[in-house]
Symmetry: C2
Subunit: 260 residues, 2 copies
């Protein structure tokens, strides 16, 4: 299992579930495809696919949940960029969805991407109920984190940071991993272990993001220690899993000290 | 099975799945509860619960899908009212969600209601995958209808009206009925018949709405004929169902000539 084949599986599945731009209304479908793009890092789908393998299943079993988590993630970016939220006109060096397609179309494209995410998740060949419940929990959680992020834009205590990072960032990683575990046929204990892995991976990812942005709520040394601690906890959580966890482990290791 | 007990089941289930207003962030949860309200007509949940009965199942089996369709419907209203869309400051005689809680919170409350809808739908005791797929299809469809509605606000051909009414209105009725059919343990043929019923019910509902608003795209007589035709087609579609269809039939009949 190499990264490139997992990325190919992700792109193929995303393309399969997304509506064609020549279907009516084309502006909606163009905006949806623009939002999801192609060739991104696709970290959450990789976590999802590798989690199916980590419980002894096949990456292929998790391809619809993997597409689903990327669709959900991208809808949140579309809405976060809106004028009433972060008012960002650029994303990944290109015009944001609302800057290109207008505010109403961006709101609606985000809405449709979220619905499509759940539709895709339900196509998982087993445990569809558990998989959709995990995605739904994350879908609510990510909004809870965003509301607190917008509200607590001034002074932040450690509690605020914990709440925002857990929900705004880690909840999607948790959904990615647990959906992958369910899709791969893992036990409840496997899914719990994957949730613990993903919570810590998500926190490490967010702390590392803060370091890259030079915008951490804590002093640099403390944030670096938090990255190491969370990465260690993530890797430790993999010990009980019955399948090949090498990809999840290397993913966690690569997040430490990444450059973008 | 009387209407009041079905309405009680709907309200109880909505209250059960909605986050408490004292959970963090309370502004989000207040906005979500404000959006969904209490004691509305709850037509879509009634269709869902009665569809479970119409295939020979119990209304209780469909209570989570019934709550789900109401949550999804209400999120669409919250987003439709936004300044970038219809810019409505009132809804049901009260301030719209964005007028009361601000634009960012309204966008986010709508987003969370959509996620919660899918989370609730996945709690159905059987056929969760089919149920969520039906809701997901409607979730994308309703946005397709809304995009065309915003785009085709001037001259509209019959094709435009068909597309908008089918997707913006009927898709949610179709999801309500087919989810109820799956939750009640209906056969594929039962679910197809329920879909046909609900498409026509949704169209009749929308034409009747146009008559009540005095805002039909067609002459009054033609719209009245369309209501009768769609109502008849809806009722005819119930013939093959194995359970008690009397409630669905009376629901269709009551839509004709309703006063609000």
């Amino acid at each position: 299992m190499d990264v490139q084949s997992l990325l190919n599986l992700t792109e193929k599945t995303l393309d399969e579930v997304m509506p064609r731009a020549d279907e009516r209304p084309s502006v909606l479908h163009e905006a949806m495809r623009y939002a999801v793009g192609t060739g991104g890092k696709r970290i959450r789908p990789l976590v999802c696919l590798a989690s199916a393998v980590a419980v002894g299943g096949r990456a292929e079993d998790a391809r619809y949940p993997a597409a689903a988590i990327e669709l959900l993630h991208n809808y949140t970016l579309v809405h976060d960029d809106l004028p009433s939220m972060d008012n960002d006109t650029e994303r990944r060096g290109k015009p944001s969805v609302w800057a290109k397609f207008g505010e109403a179309n961006a709101t609606l494209a985000g809405d449709a991407l979220q619905a499509l995410a759940f539709w895709a998740a339900a196509k998982a060949p087993r445990n569809a109920g558990e998989i959709v419940a995990a995605l739904g929990k994350a879908g609510v959680g990510v909004v809870r984190g965003q509301v607190e992020d917008v509200a607590a834009s001034g002074e932040r205590g450690t509690d605020d940071v914990d709440f925002i990072y857990t929900h705004k960032t880690a909840d999607l990683f948790i959904a990615a991993a647990t959906m992958g575990g369910y899709a791969g046929g893992g036990s409840e204990a496997d899914v719990v272990a994957l949730g613990k892995f993903a919570l810590n991976l998500g926190l490490a990812f967010q702390y590392e993001d803060d370091l890259l942005d030079g915008d951490s709520p804590f002093p640099k040394e403390k944030t670096e220690a938090l990255v190491r601690e969370a990465t260690g906890a993530a890797i430790a959580a993999l010990a009980s899993l019955p399948g090949d966890t090498s990809f999840l482990k290397s993913l966690a290791e690569r997040l430490v000290g990444r450059k973008s």
